[in-house]
Symmetry: C2
Subunit: 636 residues, 2 copies
């Protein structure tokens, strides 16, 4: 498309462009708004500025004529000779702050817009945010607020900047981008004026957009009353053994299937699908070559939930088998979890359909993970800290059931209070964002694959392209998810998110300072001591105590002093850190005992050798503790 | 100073300013370079633009006259009426990329320059670096490289940008700022042109500069042959007991002093300084009211190294006593460490003059800390991991001996291979930077007090103002120190800094991906497997292994498979991570045993409950291990 056609396209969507006129190259130029800009508009010229195809600051029609000959001469120097199809555009020069809007058609997220600071330094400054083409006004603003340039709104150096103009221009480009066969565009600069944004320099690329299809699912993946385990075995070295053993403790009816076995854990083993009574859920842990036929038979039998534990699909180069699995899911209206996954856990049925080594406790976190190993590590950590789960889904290769489906499935589950996601990539981006937007439960996302080397690694093990970290993180954040930066936050965070104010009681000023930094940087307010509390503390603490939060009760503090301070200051709505460093008089174990069963008291024993008995005590009593400061950030 | 005087000042230091002329307000204006700018130059107007005191884009002398009346009218609207002392300046309009240079006289670092991107958005973009007024060309460039705008050098969009111009203009302003009685200045914009930088808009503030005096020290603080401990006691609840006990094991001669005691640990206790044989080092752990007289007597006796453990000085509001201590140090040419500190450790003499609870092992790290508690925590952690120290200095309130002195004292100590600093503030900034520059040993700095709340906390416990984090970190980085972001790095980092390439052997793709991210983000290269290694690995690993680094040996790997991969891949120059997630067949303890005594093998057992026996094994064998991924960053 030539520039004048682009300008017309923008005008059709109500986007303001500078006042302009087009001229044939042999026409006499005449314009009435100065200063103005003269540009060549020819398919032979892609980057106008690079070949001297633009002249700015023209103040009269005489200058305009001269500028034309200047440009013609510049072009000739670059070996560009114009013909009668080429045009010139004269445009009024629009002055104001330079912004940028652009768009890309991403293979995962489809139409995604970029918005932020414009100008020639854009690639260096990268002060840009990602905006989904389906984002509403509120979400647009939330995205925009992540840029630095947004800070000039609503007022900067005496000048007013209207956020409504941002919403308006982004919405117009959202419409244009979604409706037109455009796969990429750039407007730089997009100039902020008192009347709104004006799109000054526009570039667009046409192409074909291939979209994901969203499928309506008829069955709840957590409807697990009658479950059959294919590949259940008495060989303790095999996955089918652990699956069968873990499943046994459940309230659901469990059936084992293995053509070579008669009995397992005192239960009958079925030899074939046909023998089985009606079931709603099947777990498949058999050699990969038999998976497809088994899934097909299950589909024919009307079984809707199928968990494919078996590996040997896309991740090992067998793309074809994986595609067949996807087709079967569609054909028989199935929920297929996996393949290449750890399984499913459903607290309501006390149903552990994973081969994880640990006992999974019931709780309120729904944990979704693309990596089975990350899942097993998190389950293992959760076991140490008595953290329970309402649901666990190991999504593996995501041949069918994906994060978006999982978020939807969890909406009506009252036990689940937060949805915590470990993602390497996302399959159907728009669906994912829609489900995040509609979710009534908070969603936490950790995304792996930030660097190129890591993306390569991720690809080799689940066969999923990781995509751009910044894009995924930006879009999820604006849609309403919270991005996490430490993987352990997926099991710890939701417990402490809601505390607004923090209090530190410590025997050490330095570590108190560092912890204050960490708390404030993670959005916590430091609780302010009341005059009454100060008075009471003055009575029980040595005169050199800090008179402030962090409450530094001085290096020679023993448990008695900690107890006295805590008695005065304890409040259930405060997040209280009992911060202890090893001084030679510190009676760590007695201080540890102060923590008891109060979940808002977090012990930090900053040390190692001296505190070994303390750590053993906490582990034995299943109390969350820290032995350093920086990791506290995980729970904030 | 009025603008025309500023322009003259700049010209005296060789700094280019735009061609300009000054006019009295009743003079007829005439200028010969267009476009030009007209500005009011009056002490009544501080921010010219805010009151309409600047008119740009003037193309003729007629326009110039009109602009004058426009400005006069604008000023009147803001209630500003000119008189005959006021001037106008006409300046040629200089076009080019907008930079910024400024300077502040900081109470700690004295003259500090700021340099970076200029323009009206400067406060929002904050793309600025700090440059010491004593920084040389190389250091100037190192500072500048931390800004985004530096990326347009040496070339951007076909235009050349010369770094020599940056060095030149910064050096000229360094000279000006150091020589003139100026305490603050701003040049915005400082415009980059093909001939060099042009200072366009200049503002300066005059004032008095109070400077630190650097004192030449005659004695080495680590000259500790004969040591007396004042306040040595048999009361195990007192600091003097731990000090005496820790000191006893040393090769130095140790003398105890306590007027109320005859014998301690089978040694004579002296009652008074007079009784003592000649000593070189005194440790003081007596009530604060007796400290000053004791120090004075020691000074008179010729004792040069005095470690004041006692608290009760600036940190508890007793500023006067602290100032007296500083004076005594100067008067008697003493090295006074503290007050309010944990003490000193000197591996050469096996001399532990701290009251830390742990045994300190000899090693190669010199650890300097302003906080005694942080020091005791790090010593405690080091004990668990068998990390040793060549020297430890607890600097406390830094009434006399400070970080700069410590760095100098360590230069000729061959056992010390790195100087690791925990700082809350710095006393004499210029001296600190000079010593960093001259240091033959690598210096690592962790600075606490990043947020305002934390600065307040730091002030209350050592009485030191923390200052701006960004400034200290920026200046130290450019001078040659390495800034650390996790406090544990102060004991771990120097062991692993030098490994360039990393290898991961893992039973889990997802965690391998995350760890790859962390390694690459911290500057490690992922080792590339050779064709020969690939061939050998293909023979011993299952067909689905990753064929790449991270070497994913698949979830069902036992210790045998780890051993086989390690045999093929082990190289002493690689940093090798043995990354293990809990799968039900994982024999963790056997994998743990593979690590043995190879310091370049780092075990990461990503989990908790399952791996408890593994962690116990590592602790027992004093092997560094991790149970999560993010903390690995600490050692990189």
């Amino acid at each position: 498309m030539q520039e004048y056609q682009l300008l017309q396209l923008l005008e059709r969507y109500g986007i303001t462009v500078p006042k302009y006129r087009t001229f044939e190259i042999d026409q006499k130029f005449f314009f009435d708004r100065f200063p103005c800009v003269l540009k060549i508009d020819s398919p032979k010229v892609v980057h106008k500025s690079d070949v001297g195809g633009v002249r700015m600051g023209i103040h009269s029609n005489e200058e305009l004529q001269r500028a034309k000959y200047e440009i013609l001469s510049n072009l000739q120097k670059h070996g560009i000779f114009l013909d009668l199809e080429d045009k010139f555009i004269v445009e009024e020069e629009v002055r104001g702050e330079e912004f940028y809007i652009g768009g890309i058609f991403d293979p995962i997220f489809e139409e995604v817009l970029l918005f932020g600071k414009g100008g020639v330094l854009i690639e260096i400054e990268k002060d840009i945010c990602y905006i989904d083409s389906e984002a509403d006004a509120k979400e647009i603003v939330k995205s925009f607020k992540t840029t630095k340039i947004s800070k000039i709104f609503p007022q900067f150096r005496g000048k007013e900047y209207k956020i409504e103009y941002v919403i308006d221009v982004v919405q117009k480009f959202q419409k244009l981008f979604s409706a037109e066969p455009i796969v990429e565009f750039d407007v730089n600069p997009l100039i902020y004026t008192e009347e709104g944004f004006v799109a000054v320099d526009v570039r667009m690329k046409q192409g074909i957009k291939s979209r994901f299809e969203a499928r309506k699912r008829s069955e709840d993946i957590f409807h697990n009353e009658k479950v059959a385990i294919f590949g259940a075995t008495d060989n303790p070295k095999k996955v089918g053994y652990a699956l069968a053993k873990n499943a046994l403790a459940s309230k659901a009816d469990i059936y084992f299937v293995n053509p070579k076995l008669k009995e397992l854990f005192g239960k009958r083993v079925y030899h074939d699908i046909k023998e089985l009574p009606p079931i709603d859920t099947a777990v498949i842990a058999i050699p990969s070559e038999y998976v497809l036929t088994t899934v097909e038979k299950l589909g024919q039998k009307g079984v809707k939930n199928i968990i494919v534990i078996s590996a040997g699909f896309k991740e090992s180069g067998n793309k074809e088998a994986e595609e067949k699995l996807t087709k079967l899911a569609k054909q028989y209206d199935l929920n297929i979890l996996g393949p290449n996954c750890l399984g499913l856990y459903n607290a309501q049925k006390e149903l552990n359909l994973t081969f994880a080594a640990d006992t999974i406790l019931p709780g309120s976190i729904a944990l979704l993970s693309q990596s089975g190993a990350v899942l097993s590590a998190l389950i293992d950590k959760a076991a140490t800290y008595s953290i329970g789960f309402s649901h666990i889904l190991s999504l593996g290769n995501m041949a069918d059931f994906d994060f978006g489906d999982a978020i939807e499935a969890l909406q009506n589950k009252s036990q689940c209070t937060s949805i915590n996601i470990y993602a390497e990539g996302v399959r159907h981006g728009k669906k994912f964002l829609r489900r995040i937007r509609k979710s009534s439960k908070p969603i936490f996302v950790y995304k792996a694959g930030k660097t190129e080397a890591a993306k390569k690694a991720a690809f080799s093990h689940t066969g999923n392209m990781s995509g751009s970290y910044e894009m995924l993180a930006g879009l999820c954040h604006s849609a309403g998810a919270k991005i996490k930066h430490d993987i352990d936050e997926l099991i710890f965070a939701p417990h402490y998110e809601n505390y607004k104010e923090a209090l530190i009681i410590t025997n050490a000023g330095g570590p108190g300072t560092i912890l204050t930094d960490i708390l404030v940087q993670h959005g916590k307010k430091m609780y302010e001591l009341t005059p009454k509390e100060l008075k009471l503390l003055n009575k029980v603490l040595p005169p050199t105590w800090s008179k402030n939060n962090p409450v530094d009760i001085i290096g020679d503090a023993t448990s008695e002093r900690y107890r006295a301070a805590l008695e005065i200051l304890y409040k259930p709505q405060l997040l209280i850190f009992i911060l202890v460093t090893p001084q030679f008089m510190t009676d760590g174990k007695n201080i540890a005992k102060l923590v008891e069963d109060r979940p808002n008291l977090i012990p930090i024993f900053f040390g190692s050798e001296t505190f070994k008995p303390v750590f053993a005590y906490f582990q034995q009593h299943r109390i969350l503790y820290f032995n350093d400061l920086e990791n506290v950030a995980n729970i904030l």
